[in-house]
């Protein structure tokens, strides 16, 4: 068991190292940290911008629909499960 703990601990330390060493990054949207549109060659910029924008809009709409479905599903699930435990503890289960 000690060997498993040691391996898991080493894996965790290695995994979190890049994050700890960059924790002071103020914001990934500031300064030279994020790639800028101005760094894209001017002749390609318009096409890439348009295709990225179309993709982002489609993705936003897809996420919105997914969240609408998930929201309704979660409400129904909680009502059913809550009623189940009410039933279990009121009637008893055989």
């Amino acid at each position: 068991m000690r060997a498993i703990i040691a391996i898991a601990f080493i894996v965790a330390l290695i995994t979190m190292y890049p994050y700890i060493s960059n924790i002071s990054t103020a914001s990934s949207l500031k300064g030279s940290y994020v790639f800028k549109w101005s760094e894209i060659p001017v002749e390609k910029r318009g096409t890439i911008y348009k295709s990225n924008l179309n993709f982002a809009t489609k993705f936003n709409n897809a996420i919105k629909i997914l969240l609408e479905i998930v929201g309704i599903f979660v409400v129904l699930l909680v009502i059913v499960e809550y009623y189940k435990y009410y039933k279990i503890h009121k009637e008893g289960v055989k």
Binding site: M1, I4, I5, I7, A8, V11, A12, T15, M16, P18, Y19, I20, N22, I23, T25, A26, S27, S28, Y33, V34, F35, K36, W37, E39, I40, I48, Y49, S51, N52, L53, F55, A56, T57, F59, N60, N61, I63, K64, L67, E68, V70, G71, I72, V74, V75, V78, I79, V80, E81, Y82, Y83, K84, Y85, Y86, K87, I88, H89, K90, G92, V93
Partner: protein, 302 residues
């Protein structure tokens, strides 16, 4: 009393939930700045809040890597023990067993089946929790990493607009996790028999009587341990259950109020129901954090 959870499972739950809930509190105000702006003030400004977000992200990443590796290696070395999850949950037999259990359980709840199905250590909803939450956490870690180190990912450097798609996924999944946390607490903690808190994940123990009702197939495999059984039947659970359901209904309305604002992602304006749902959700999570710490410390004493 029966031994239900190991030390590692209890600590994994505690560290994962505290870091995950803190990430929700510090991250959701970015997506819902019109409705949760007060959270930034609570932490002394947006810079502090974002710094805290990264600190708790590192804690989550550590616990994900540590406990993920530990549980996989433990399962390989020791086998599945008293767990009913076969072949890491990836066998067709196990999946069909879980689906059949879910259908039969719901049918019994709705009065369409006479006998309630018997479950092993983890019933279908717990199996769902065990697989869904790490999957969602992995998506958040992956998309968070891309946003933290955008220059390390070539598809972002050649398509800067995709950065905002990654941000939308990160925010969308975070909203789903908020629903998940409230539903999880509603189903496993605030229900009759467990209210106000299901101590088994904190103390590692469950009463034999309760286990016989909820996990009948597991009881013969479980290890008996010492401990005092406390009966928990309070009618207050119905009030808190109702509050949780009202909160979830308000939150389920939020996606319907969202609109796509191109690269800015999904945005919501100043809407009373949205602000109520999100505000109550965040306050509830703060209460859950306090309750989790208290229960964990109490569990240590036992």
């Amino acid at each position: 009393m029966l031994k239900r959870f190991s030390w590692h499972q209890r600590i994994a739950h505690f560290v994962g939930t505290i870091s995950g809930m803190m990430l929700l509190i510090t991250g959701l105000p970015i997506m819902f700045s019109n409705n949760l702006g007060w959270v930034f003030s609570l932490f002394g400004g947006s810079s502090n809040t974002m710094f805290l977000h990264r600190v708790f992200a590192i804690i989550l990443i550590f616990s994900f890597a540590y406990f993920g590796t530990y549980f996989i290696l433990e399962r390989i070395v020791r086998g599945r023990g008293d767990s009913n999850i076969k072949n890491f949950g990836f066998s067709a037999e196990f999946i069909s067993e879980v689906v059949a259990g879910a259908v039969r359980d719901i049918l019994w709840t709705l009065g369409l089946r006479k006998e309630r199905p018997k479950f092993g250590k983890y019933d279908w909803i717990m199996v769902g929790d065990i697989y869904l939450l790490p999957t969602l956490a992995f998506i958040e870690i992956l998309t968070g990493t891309i946003m933290w180190f955008p220059r390390s990912f070539e598809f972002i450097t050649t398509n800067p607009g995709l950065f905002f798609v990654i941000r939308s996924i990160h925010a969308g999944v975070a909203f789903f996790i908020l629903l998940f946390v409230l539903a999880h607490a509603g189903i496993l903690h605030l229900i009759p028999g467990n209210f106000p808190i299901n101590m088994s994940i904190f103390s590692g123990k469950i009463s034999k009587r309760k286990a016989e009702i909820e996990h009948e197939k597991w009881v013969p495999l479980a290890e008996e341990v010492e401990g005092e059984e406390r009966s928990r039947m309070s009618k207050l659970c119905y009030i808190f259950g109702a509050i949780t359901i009202v909160n979830l209904i308000a939150l389920a309305y939020v996606p319907f109020a969202m609109r796509s604002e191109w690269f800015a992602g999904l945005r919501v304006g100043s809407d009373g129901i949205v602000s109520f749902g999100l505000g109550l959700g965040v306050v509830t999570i703060i209460v859950y954090i306090i309750a989790s710490i208290t229960a964990f410390l109490k569990g240590l004493k036992n």
